[in-house]
């Protein structure tokens, strides 16, 4: 005998999954319910995450331990909230200035190191073991180096892309397309595994133990679309858009 709360959970999970998938057909009230519930749940979740993972351990507990140094970042953080009070909203600039300065200070050296140094070192390093490289490995390393140079040519904005520059940058585009194709396939495979996960859940919720949650909700949804499809006139905006 399945627990009642397990059955309720199965109906909720199957319902929300089907409600969200129903958007693939068209916008409907069931999708709106799921959308707003998702939005609210997401906000609630992050609120407690910030509360218990940031505010409590990084502000409240140090203050209780008389570590007064945390007051400075806490005040800078609070200054951002003054945006909502027009009279003192200028205070928020201090917080934003600190954020921007901190962000730039962190990003510039890290960017130089990863985008410049790592890129150059990673491309040329294989050639330091040239003596022990197979012809295929040498070809591979040269191909990568050629790809780096050609792709960089494509992103070179200071010269007009014509003549030989255009040819080199076109080769760069081919390299980019090969990468994008690989990335696309890789990500789509990952998305399909997520989809299988949802289908697997829907299949398990279609059992007798879950009181046929998937089938019943699906049937209600189809019925709703059939009824509204026959009774509702298409709106002017919808016609124009399609």
């Amino acid at each position: 005998m399945t627990e009642p709360w397990m059955i309720a959970g199965a109906w909720l999970a199957a319902g929300l999954t089907i409600f969200l998938f129903s958007f693939l057909y068209r916008d409907n009230p069931f999708f709106k319910i799921a959308e707003h519930l998702y939005l609210g749940a997401g906000m609630g979740w992050w609120f407690q995450v910030y509360m218990f993972n940031i505010w409590k351990p990084k502000v409240w507990e140090p203050l209780m331990a008389h570590q007064w140094g945390v007051i400075i970042p806490a005040v800078l953080g609070l200054s951002l909230v003054t945006q909502f009070i027009p009279k003192i909203s200028w205070l928020s600039r201090y917080g934003f200035t600190f954020l921007m300065g901190y962000g730039a200070g962190l990003a510039v050296p890290a960017g130089l190191s990863t985008d410049f140094m790592n890129q150059i070192a990673g491309t040329i390093r294989p050639f330091s073991a040239l003596a022990s490289m197979t012809p295929f490995a040498i070809f591979n390393s040269l191909l990568i180096a050629l790809g780096v140079v050609c792709v960089l040519f494509y992103f070179f904005f200071s010269v007009e892309h014509k003549g030989s520059v255009k040819k080199v940058s076109n080769v760069g585009i081919y390299f980019l397309m090969v990468y994008f194709g690989a990335a696309f396939g890789n990500t789509v495979m990952a998305r399909f595994s997520l989809l299988y996960g949802r289908f697997d859940d829907l299949a398990s919720f279609s059992s007798r133990g879950s009181f046929y949650a998937t089938q019943i909700i699906l049937a209600v949804m189809v019925l709703y679309f059939l009824v509204t499809g026959f009774t509702k006139k298409p709106q002017q905006g919808e016609e124009e858009a399609h």
Partner: protein
């Protein structure tokens, strides 16, 4: 009774004698182990703390089976902790991962970087620790050093990153030169197709009387793509204000929203239309990735905007957003530097700005000398990478072919990242 007491006394004396003899022989055995001379311990140079550098000369008598064991102890008299064990051929002075300008190691000495974080957790900065090293062969201790002390602390200046600092200084010099040049003579930027379509998209929205959605992505304000997006938003909203069209900017990050508010407000003022500006053009949706995507999808599906801009940092929500925009019939222009999301924008959008094109967009649209100069510096960086790659390959191949090991090491160190 007397007999019993005498027997106890004799037994006690005998056992005490035996213990004394055993202690003596142990001390004698310890004294027989030769010392490892020249062992020293110091703070590991140019690190963030938590590591010590131990050095001692290579022993010519070491065999393939000789193993070195490193021990550490806190100076309060606590016992020795075994830190590491390695064969005698490992961890010579050449093995320390520091560039040639920060370290002059020799193969004639052992140099070992002892990472102590896991062994002495919570040790304060500047804590003095004791170290010793012992060599053994097939389980028998063959030599042991005298303990050496070192205070372990982090370093403010990382000499090993000097090449990064010099590159940064060079980039800054080029930037200031470019700013001055841009102000005096102007700078050239090649045509970027996706950006030329912005006027077309805004014009279409104005003609149709429908809103424009500008989605700045899920990046924080410290993300470079979000900063680039803010520049593009400035130019887009200026054109929207000029055409008296209507823009909506749903936000994931409240800080980005606040910055975007200022940007849009400024653009409306520059366009001479401060009266058209409304506070609710920028609005917060959610800081949860997929609920943000679901909500923005719902808005796009219901309002059917004439144009959608997706500019900034995007992850898995990229296709969710762009696909809905495409089915609603909007003209879509996207741009991100997240390479693995670009294919999804290619499939669902009319124009896509790839990586660097997003950074260039702000300069391209505004023609601001400062932004143009930043773009020139980026181009300079690319030139440096291209030339370095080509030269580096030639020099490394030459160095390897002619067995100039030090030369190849110098080349590799020059481009050492951290």
């Amino acid at each position: 009774m007397i007999k019993k007491s005498s027997l106890c006394l004799i037994l006690c004396l005998a056992s005490a004698g035996a213990l004394h003899a055993a202690g003596k022989s142990a001390k004698a055995a310890q004294a027989a182990v030769p010392a490892i001379n020249g062992f020293s311990a110091s703070d590991m140079p140019y690190d963030a703390g938590g590591a010590a550098l131990l050095r001692w000369p290579v022993n010519a008598a070491d065999t393939e089976t000789t193993v070195y064991t490193v021990y550490a102890s806190s100076s309060d008299g606590a016992g020795w902790v075994r830190i590491d064990e390695f064969p005698s051929s490992a961890n010579t002075g050449k093995g320390i991962d520091l560039p040639f300008w920060a370290w002059d190691g020799s193969a004639a000495e052992h140099a070992y970087k002892a990472e102590l974080g896991n062994f002495f957790p919570g040790a304060a900065e500047g804590t003095v620790l004791r170290f010793k090293v012992a060599s053994s062969d097939k389980g028998r201790v063959t030599a042991e050093s005298l303990p050496a002390e070192a205070a372990v602390s982090g370093n403010w200046f990382r000499l090993d990153r000097l090449n990064n600092l010099l590159l940064l200084v060079l980039v800054m010099v080029v930037f200031f030169w470019a700013v001055s040049h841009a102000k005096r003579k102007g700078l050239f930027i090649r045509r970027i197709a996706g950006l030329d379509a912005i006027d077309e998209a805004i014009g279409r929205a104005t003609e149709m009387g429908k809103p424009i959605y500008y989605v700045p992505g899920i990046g924080s304000m410290s993300s470079i793509s979000t900063i680039a997006s803010a520049f593009i938003l400035g130019e887009v909203s200026k054109k929207v204000a000029q055409y008296d069209s209507f823009i909506k900017i749903p936000h994931y990050d409240p800080i980005v929203m606040t910055v975007a508010k200022e940007v849009v407000k400024q653009s409306y003022m520059e366009a001479g239309r401060p009266d058209s500006y409304r506070e609710d053009l920028n609005f917060f949706v959610s800081q949860d990735q997929f609920s943000y995507a679901a909500s923005v999808d719902g808005m796009i599906a219901r309002e059917k905007p004439a144009a959608c801009f997706f500019m900034g940092y995007f992850m898995a929500e990229s296709l969710l957003l762009a696909e809905v925009g495409a089915t609603s019939g909007a003209i879509q222009i996207a741009g991100t530097d997240v390479e693995h999301q670009l294919p999804f924008f290619f499939t669902a959008c009319d124009y896509t700005l790839i990586g660097e094109e997003l950074y260039a967009a702000g300069a391209y649209l505004s023609k601001e000398p400062m932004l143009m100069s930043a773009l020139k510096v980026q181009d300079f960086g690319k030139l440096v990478v291209m030339v370095s790659v080509l030269l580096g390959i030639v020099l490394l191949a030459l160095g390897t072919k002619l067995h100039w090991d030090s030369f190849t090491q110098v080349i590799l160190n020059l481009f050492k990242a951290y």
